[in-house]
């Protein structure tokens, strides 16, 4: 369980707080997504959740951040990283630089934790397999593509076995296939191990398909906090400079001209959109079979 209680935080040498009175409680095993325009405070929230605020970024913090009932201000960052893993945007900067192969790179965190060698080898093999980069084990981490590096970064965190994983736009530099693999990895983690996941992300379709909960940040405040369906189909979403997912936009436009049943919920996933449009009698009469073109979405 992670709990933020009226957290306000201002970075050093800045006038405006990056987080304002943020209260958020995330139960164990929840997959909570965070969206918001650039500069809304997503990264800051990620740093606060993983202990880097206040331990790494100084600045001014008020309110309380607790992880499993431990106040993050009361323990050291080194203690916290054993509970919370952090993956961020730039894959290159997440490579430690201390290691010469992917296998050793993933081992870096385990070595610091003092994990015995035999267990380390099992954990590394399992994690590389899970993230789908077992074939890269002996390559240099600096000779990989961005997507491959990002998966190394995720593997490095997963190998450390954190109960909470915070990901700050981890797929922004990945291709669609890489992004799908990351999301599916996260989903599997939650199902297999009950890992709590907090994910700041722009890819709304993915959030709609996978997340349990969706928090919207605007100007350092939480402005919406509900199920992905409710948030993504809410008309006020655009007020926070977030465009609604394509399926929602399409169905809204279709509803205006009577092609989407007025009593039907707006769709947030491809399946729902397909079903909704298929059931619409006027569309059926044009014999448009969306089911045959399902593969084109990403």
């Amino acid at each position: 369980m992670i709990a933020l209680d009226a957290v306000t935080y201002t970075y050093p040498a800045t006038a405006q707080p990056a987080l304002r009175e943020v209260s958020l409680s995330i139960p164990d095993g929840q997959f909570c997504a965070v969206i918001g325009a650039n500069g809304a405070g997503k990264s800051t929230l990620c740093y606060a959740l993983s202990g880097f605020i206040p331990h790494f970024f100084r600045g001014e913090l008020s309110g309380r951040i607790r992880i499993d009932d431990v106040d993050t201000q009361a323990v050291s960052l080194a203690e916290l990283v054993q509970r919370v893993g952090l993956v961020f945007q730039n894959p290159f900067n997440q490579m430690s630089g201390a290691k010469f192969t992917v296998r050793e790179e993933v081992a870096f965190g385990l070595e610091n934790l003092g994990v015995p060698r035999a267990e380390m080898q099992t954990r590394i093999a399992r994690t590389l397999e899970r993230v789908g980069i077992a074939d890269l084990a002996d390559r240099s981490p600096f000779a990989l593509s961005g997507g491959q590096q990002q998966r190394v970064a995720i593997a490095s965190m997963l190998a450390m076995d954190p109960r909470v994983l915070v990901l700050d736009e981890p797929t922004s530099q990945l291709d669609p296939i890489g992004a799908r693999e990351v999301f599916e990895t996260i989903r599997a983690l939650i199902e297999e191990r009950g890992t709590t996941v907090i994910l700041a992300e722009h890819k709304l379709e993915w959030i709609a398909a996978f997340a349990d909960r969706l928090v919207v940040l605007a100007n350092g405040r939480i402005v919406m906090d509900s199920s992905p369906r409710q948030v993504l189909t809410a008309p006020e979403l655009e007020r926070y400079h977030i465009g609604a997912p394509r399926y929602v936009q399409a169905a809204r436009a279709a509803r205006e001209i009577g092609l989407w049943p007025a009593d039907r919920d707006l769709p947030v996933t491809l399946d729902e959109a397909t079903e909704g449009f298929s059931s619409s009698s006027s569309l059926n009469s044009t014999r448009l079979d969306l089911r045959n073109s399902r593969n084109s979405g990403n």
């Binding site: 080194a78 430690s96 050793e104 070595e111 060698r117």
Partner: protein, 257 residues
Amino acid sequence: MLIYLTGRSGRLHGLNPITKVMLTLVVIVCGFVLPGVWATWLVFGSIVLPLSLWGGIAGPLLRAVARITLPFAISLFVIQGLFFPGGTPILSLGPVSFKAEGLQFALLFASRLFLLSSAFMLLLLTTHPGLLMLALVQRGLPANLAYIIVATLQIVPRFQARAASILDAQRARGLETTGSLLRRLRAIVPLVGPLVLGSLVDVEERAIAIEARGFSLRRPKTSLIDIPDSRAEKGLRRGLIVAPVVLIVARLAGWLR
């Protein structure tokens, strides 16, 4: 940056890095403690050369050492030969003359430099830097220091690559980087700015990345890689300590002239 020769699984490569570090230090101490030019070359010929042949790196080693020592040797001979205070002139070229003592001094110095660099090359060409640092950390070198050394080895090439791409980007916007000295100096400003600022951001993010992996945890670290250390090598290292001690004592006692 990395001069370690991969792909050669020579016998020297498989030795424990600590053994090679000791070997290097012993060679250097012996070369400097033994008097005279002949002793320096004796140490080279009896230890460094056979080992490099055994390890299959004699060619690259000699090339690297020549590249390091040759420029020094030439300037040593010229400067010491010409400007050695006093001394007997043996060759006169107009107003200047080479002195015998100066040339002798230069020869000794160049020989020792040769031995020193060849001993280091023996270590560096056959030892993976990561493995060397790991071995040193296991013997008490601070992990932070080892991290800085290894990370520098890996990150400097990326830094150079970024400098090159900034240079290209600024040239594409019309920055003149050729021509007079003044023009070249002026061109530095728009190159250094992005490079330094970008690197500062990188440093912060990399600090977060290694913190997130528990780098500052105060507990004994383990290691994925097992560095082989046979009984024979342990014995060899004990033997290696004896040689310089004996030589230093002999030198102090005045047995070596």
